[in-house]
Every structure is written in structure tokens, then in C-alpha cells.
Point group: C2
Chain length 247, copies 2
Amino acid sequence: MYRFEPIGRIRSCFPQKFGIPRQAGLVPQATAVLELFAPFGRAEALAGLETFSHLWVVFVFHAHLDRPWHPTVRPPRLGGNRRIGLFASRSAFRPNPIGISAVRLDRIRQDGDRAEIDIGGGDFLDGTPVLDIKPYLPYADAITEAAGGFAADPPLLLPVDFAPEAETACRQSGDAGLKALITGVLANDPRPAYDARRDGDAVFGMRICDLEVKWRVHQGRVAVLSVAPATRDLPPSAALPTTDPEP
Amino acid sequence: MYRFEPIGRIRSCFPQKFGIPRQAGLVPQATAVLELFAPFGRAEALAGLETFSHLWVVFVFHAHLDRPWHPTVRPPRLGGNRRIGLFASRSAFRPNPIGISAVRLDRIRQDGDRAEIDIGGGDFLDGTPVLDIKPYLPYADAITEAAGGFAADPPLLLPVDFAPEAETACRQSGDAGLKALITGVLANDPRPAYDARRDGDAVFGMRICDLEVKWRVHQGRVAVLSVAPATRDLPPSAALPTTDPEP
């Protein structure tokens, strides 16, 4: 038995699991802040990290604690209906729910014994506990000749169109990167692979920061229908996709 | 506080820390066996893993538990005399002593609810506890454009020559890969970077499996002096390089 205390935590734009990029790097526009608690964020412990472009985040899938693991999973990449072994997947439901993600290192801000690191391309639920960070070492970590099994290539991206109201809402949000973020997230088609509603014109909704984004997919294109301030609290466990009536 | 139980353990040729490759992938000849305990090694939990060429091992630096972490380290890559922040390094001395290594997946052998996975290119102390294994996903994990800071390139390799007696001992060992393994390990110059004996003709010794290998470095070439069955027990904490009198 090994015991680990978090050294930090991630503040991300993803307050619920539905819609989080399925791997790190898929949505470069997804920026987040990695807070290092005192004393781990002291300047000398980070000296030199700024010379690396990417870092590894070792973290806990904290929304999956106390859920039993199953030996097989149905990864979205296989259409959600084929089972493979858990250890052949990057599923969050693991005997030890530890994740590793390589992210872009944008900036380090010191604040005494604490620090905040701006990262990009993450796939983290807001509040994710961080166990460790490490520099990404291309000569050891970038195995370009590796064979990627059933997930050899990145997932295909869908084109994303914004309804005029959604476009306007992005512009008025004051967040210059919001439209690009929504585009990046939805281009990866976060809909559950096994959901029968995929075949219809169902509207899906997800929370991005404090906004509710609604969209549908039709003939392989994403249509963003609305982007609006979220009006309801998220349930304590916002694990499942929300279904909303037609707007 | 998070608690994790190992799902397995690694049997490697490195019973002491001195001489272990400094990163995964540096010594492809270094093969090891990753045992998955029951029930984690059951066939269905591994189904599909064989389609990947590489996997991530998430492990505990178990020889470093209960040792305090220091905010700075002196990595061998910087000559051992320049300090950088711990989090800018892959040092084993971390607040949470968790390591991640990408290794070659050679073969999976099932044995009921247990399994043994032959891996290559590891950097593991014998007995290393395993917390998780994951498939290596090139599209997410291989960031070819990453800037590697002070460790941008793999370390230079030294040429390795075998004395006739050492060559003979390798041949007679019955292990066809032994000479290549010793070559791979010593080409990476495992001598401590900060050791004054580097300037002399000091003989270094390390344990590889149950053999004692002795070598010296002269004018940038490694000379393997002897390869012989180890005659003494390793101390409980075999952390430091051994110095042996001239043979």
C-alpha cells in the first residue's frame, strides 16, 4: 500500500466529465491552470522547467474513486460496442485510477511557495488532483515508431459551424479564445459512441467553464446552437451526458 | 490522501540502483519481466494490448520511499554539479515517488489470473512495484516537436571494449544477450557524474543479474575488465556505486 498526497490541483474549463477531450493534445485550445501547493511550488523546485515545451502531469481520476474496475471497457474509438481489456485502454476506470497526460507548458507564475502553471492541451476535469509533474523528454518519451494498436491515428475531426446566435454569444463573452475552444472540443465529437441518439438529431449540452453549450451533429457536421451562461447548478456527479429538450 | 496497491512487480537484471539506465529506452537490450498479480493479469483485462508495440509503466520508486525530497537536484546530464529544480528533472527523489516509463512490449504470457509481460528498454530496479500499465498512444504521447530543455538529445554513447577474459565469460554464461546488455548499459556511462574518480583510472563495479561486472573508462572508451558470478550479497540498500580495488 502506497499513500500519496496531491502536490497540486488543476483548474480547467471542464466542470463535468462529458465533453472532456479523450486524450491530452487533442484540443490544443483547452488551456488550464495547474496550481502547485506550498511548498511544492517554490521557485527553486521549478528552476529549469521553463526550458521544456511540454510536461507530464501525473494525476488522479478523482471522479472515479470508489468505483469498481471492470476487466474490459468499450472505448469510443471502437464505436463503443466492442470490448477490449482495460489495460489495453486509457480508460479512467482502473484498479489504481492514475492518469498521465503530456501537455503544453505555456507559462509559470510564482507566488512565494506556490506556483501556477498555464498548460494547454489537457484532458482534465476541473479540480483534478495532481500527484507529480515531470519534464517531457523527447528522446525517451517520443517513440515515433510505436504501433498504436486500435488507436493508431488521432480521431477524425468533424467540421463545426456556429449558429449566428452562438457566434454572437462567443464574441460578446469577452473571451477571445472561446469560439476556438468550443470548436476544438466539439470537432472531436464528444457524444457517447454507444448512444442511440447519435442516429437522430438529438441536442447535446455540455458545460464549458460557466457556459452551457448546445449542439447537434447532422450528416457529419457539428452545429453549435447556443452558448449561454449556465443557469443551473451541476449535479454533484456530473458524469453523464445531459440531454436537453429541443431549444 | 490517495492509497494505491500495486497490481504487479518487475523482475529486472538490475538488483542495485547503480548502473540502471537513466531513462527508459536508452538500453533496448535491457529486458525485464512485468508480473501482473491476480486478478489483474487475467486474459480479458489484457485483451488487445498485444496490438500495441509499447506500453507505459506507472511505478513506485520503492527504494526512495521515506527519503525526504529536496527542491533541487543535480542531474547527471548537467555534469552533476549544476542544480536544477526537482520538477525540471526525472529524478526518483520526488514528493510522490511515482515514475513513468515507456517500454517495448515483447510478449504477453497468461497464467490464469496472473500474467507475465516481457518488456524491453526499461529502467527499473529489480522488484519495482507497478501501479498501472497503459498502452502507448503515439498520437497523444509522441510529441515530436517538443523542446527538451537541458536534456534535448539522448546522451552520447561511449564505445565499449571487452577484455578477452570478459568476452569469454559472456560467451560461457549461456546468455546469448549478455554481452549486448553489458555493452548497452556501460555505453551510457553509468558512473556518477560528480565522482572525482572519473578523472582517474578507477575501476567501477555493478551487478547485472547475478553477475559482477567490472570496468574502467579511459580516454572516452569503456574497457570491460571482468564478468564473474557475484560472490557477495548485496547490502540491503545498494544505492551507491561500489568501488573495488584494482583486480
